[in-house]
């Protein structure tokens, strides 16, 4: 089955479950139905499908308003760059809600299509899904495989809270990759598809098909590979990959995004540090449950501790 058709099927199945849900977005019930993403959508009697106005900023606020008043919703969006218009809500509104409401019973999910086919000029330049998630530590999931489509849509699309689920336009007409996962973390942000002793391959953003191709080519040459896909950056523990690299001693990182700061840099720095290849101290904020409360906001340092850790 094609990538897009499979995702559409999973969405249609999932949105039928809740008694009350609002599905909205521009042209989701008209024309191409966002290239087919939202075709044949159906909801229960008390729910609503809205072919909305072209108001991306306000549509983000709309979803948050529904969620805080106990109605779940999904905002389907034609292009990731449209979401730039809603950044105020992704940061400010989301922060206000999560700092004051611990008992959310409903969900708000934004599902943008990442326009990564390259032929839309400037609009194709913004293809780094992790960028938009990182801005406010938003849970995000980039779907590359059948396993991810099944698990992420069924477990995350309408579960309480807010998240963004991204899909790749470049993959729309491809057969969906049916490789089964052998390991996943709880949050579905780190998924392992193969285990080998010679090389560790880690894929970011929507580069999984390249990683899979390498896995197959290496296999032909008797090179045994571990293969990971990272669906999101925030927050993530690299422990599983670091342990794997310690065994294989070889790391291949693939990231197809175009931003200056890319998610794979975070993994690389952690691997260098954990293998004692360099002495690095990272001084940054420790984020706890109170990070959104009014506070002094100073980044505190312990100079003597820093000096002690310096290598001579």
């Amino acid at each position: 089955m094609k990538y897009l058709d499979f995702i559409n099927k999973q969405i249609c199945k999932t949105v039928l479950k809740p008694k009350k849900i609002v599905l909205f977005g521009q042209n989701i019930t008209a024309g191409s139905h966002l290239g087919g993403l939202t075709k044949k959508l159906q909801v229960n009697d008390k729910s609503k499908i809205i072919n909305s106005t072209n108001s991306e900023n306000s549509l983000c606020g709309f979803g948050f308003g529904l969620m805080m008043n106990n109605v779940s919703s999904v905002f389907f969006m034609k292009q990731l760059d449209f979401l730039l218009l809603g950044i105020d809500h992704l940061v400010n509104t989301y922060n206000i809600i999560r700092s004051t409401k611990n008992d959310l019973k409903s969900s708000f999910t934004i599902m943008p299509i990442i326009v990564d086919n390259g032929y839309q000029g400037p609009q194709s330049s913004f293809n780094n899904f992790a960028d938009i998630c990182s801005i406010a530590r938003i849970p995000g999931y980039a779907i590359s495989t059948k396993f991810e489509a099944e698990k992420i849509i069924s477990e995350k699309l309408i579960s309480p809270g807010f998240r963004i689920i991204g899909i790749s336009q470049r993959l729309f007409k491809n057969e969906i990759n049916e490789l089964r996962a052998i390991k996943r973390n709880k949050n579905l942000t780190l998924i392992q598809y193969a285990k080998g002793s010679n090389v560790t391959i880690v894929c970011f953003n929507f580069s999984f098909s390249i990683g899979y191709e390498l896995l197959q080519k290496f296999h032909e040459r008797k090179i045994k590979s571990s293969l990971f896909n990272i669906t999101s950056l925030v927050p993530i523990s690299w422990k599983t990959i670091i342990e794997d690299v310690k065994k294989t001693k070889n790391l291949i990182v693939i990231d197809d995004s175009k931003s200056q700061n890319v998610a794979c840099d975070n993994l690389i720095s952690q691997i260098l540090i954990n293998n004692n290849l360099i002495n690095v101290q990272i001084i940054r904020r420790s984020i706890d449950d109170n990070w959104l409360k009014p506070n002094l906001d100073n980044l505190e340092i312990n100079v003597s501790k820093i000096i002690k850790k310096l290598s001579n």
């Binding site: 709309f62 529904l66 805080m68």
Partner: protein
């Protein structure tokens, strides 16, 4: 004076006096957080609080102090929140600009201009889909209507047929600049009407008239399943002089800022000046000048609350 009238007058005075006590603490440097008070907003705040029914929802902006005070009718939980104490209204989670009170219907306050309009659209849609016969009330200032989200949200409210009151507080000031010094005027009536939305202008800050008008509009917007825009003219009663090289003799600013107003509460000096738009002046006219008799017990009660 009728019992109910006295109650409304006391509420207006309580909101004014509470803000004055907060402001005195502000001037003493007691707060680490920024606080945006609403001197001059007392009548509209009390009116909104009084017309709200169970399950109506109120969405506020950063200038939410007078509304929070009008709803809760106490000072201590608010001042404790501003002091970031765990005994604060929101357990010190929000401070001032995002202060809410979900139990009393204040479910969202935004510190970003224009941000709260679209959240109100979602809140109102949830009321509709849940078959609640209630309204969403959203507050904004004359500055917030310059934001694109104001237009987007009005369009959505009208398109989705959502019962809501959009109250725009117009004090004609934007920080230390008069609105007409900064931008072209906005005819909010024409603007609203262009989207097929009814517009109502309210002025004079009489709480009784405001309650009467808002009660009718609440029923109308539920019956007709429509948003209604209300523009309230008020003054924030700052009255201080800005001294800059552009204004060597000082420029009169009538916009509340930290150090102002300068008052002596012991002398019951609760009017900032003889301003016919000041809700206190309006109340004085209603009760024939006996305001001190009403002020003293309220002030005593508030002071004992925060002692």
């Amino acid at each position: 004076m009728a019992k109910n009238s006295k109650k409304i007058i006391e509420q207006v005075l309580q909101v004014r006096l509470s803000q004055m006590l907060i402001n005195e603490e502000y001037k003493n440097g007691k707060f680490k957080i920024p606080i945006h008070l609403g001197f001059g907003h007392e009548s509209i705040s009390v009116a909104v609080s009084n017309i709200m029914k169970k399950n109506d929802e109120l969405i506020l902006s950063h200038r939410n102090a007078s509304y929070n005070l009008a709803r809760i009718k106490k000072l201590k939980p608010i001042i404790d929140e501003y002091l970031l104490k765990s005994s604060g209204l929101m357990n010190s989670k929000t401070g001032s600009m995002n202060l809410i009170n979900p139990k009393l219907g204040i479910i969202y306050s935004s510190s970003i201009l224009g941000n709260n309009f679209s959240v109100a659209v979602g809140v109102s849609m949830a009321q509709k889909i849940s078959n609640k016969n209630n309204i969403t009330i959203v507050l904004g200032g004359d500055g917030s209507i310059e934001e694109g989200s104001f237009y987007e949200s009005l369009l959505m409210l009208k398109t989705l047929k959502l019962s809501s009151l959009i109250i725009i507080e117009n004090n004609e000031w934007s920080m230390s600049t008069k609105i007409n010094e900064r931008r072209h005027s906005i005819d909010l009536k024409k603007f609203s009407n262009s989207l097929g939305i009814k517009y109502i202008k309210m002025k004079n800050n009489n709480p009784f008239e405001y309650i009467k008008t808002l009660t009718k509009l609440r029923i109308q917007c539920i019956k007709e399943k429509t948003p209604i825009v209300i523009e309230v003219f008020l003054s924030t009663l700052g009255e201080w002089k800005l001294m800059t090289t552009d204004f060597p003799n000082g420029k009169l600013i009538n916009y509340h800022a930290g150090p102002t107003p300068s008052v002596d509460l012991e002398k019951c000096q609760i009017k900032i000046r003889e301003n016919i738009d000041d809700p206190i002046y309006v109340i004085e006219n209603e009760i024939n000048g006996k305001i001190e008799d009403l002020v003293k017990p309220i002030l005593k009660k508030l002071k004992s609350e925060i002692k």
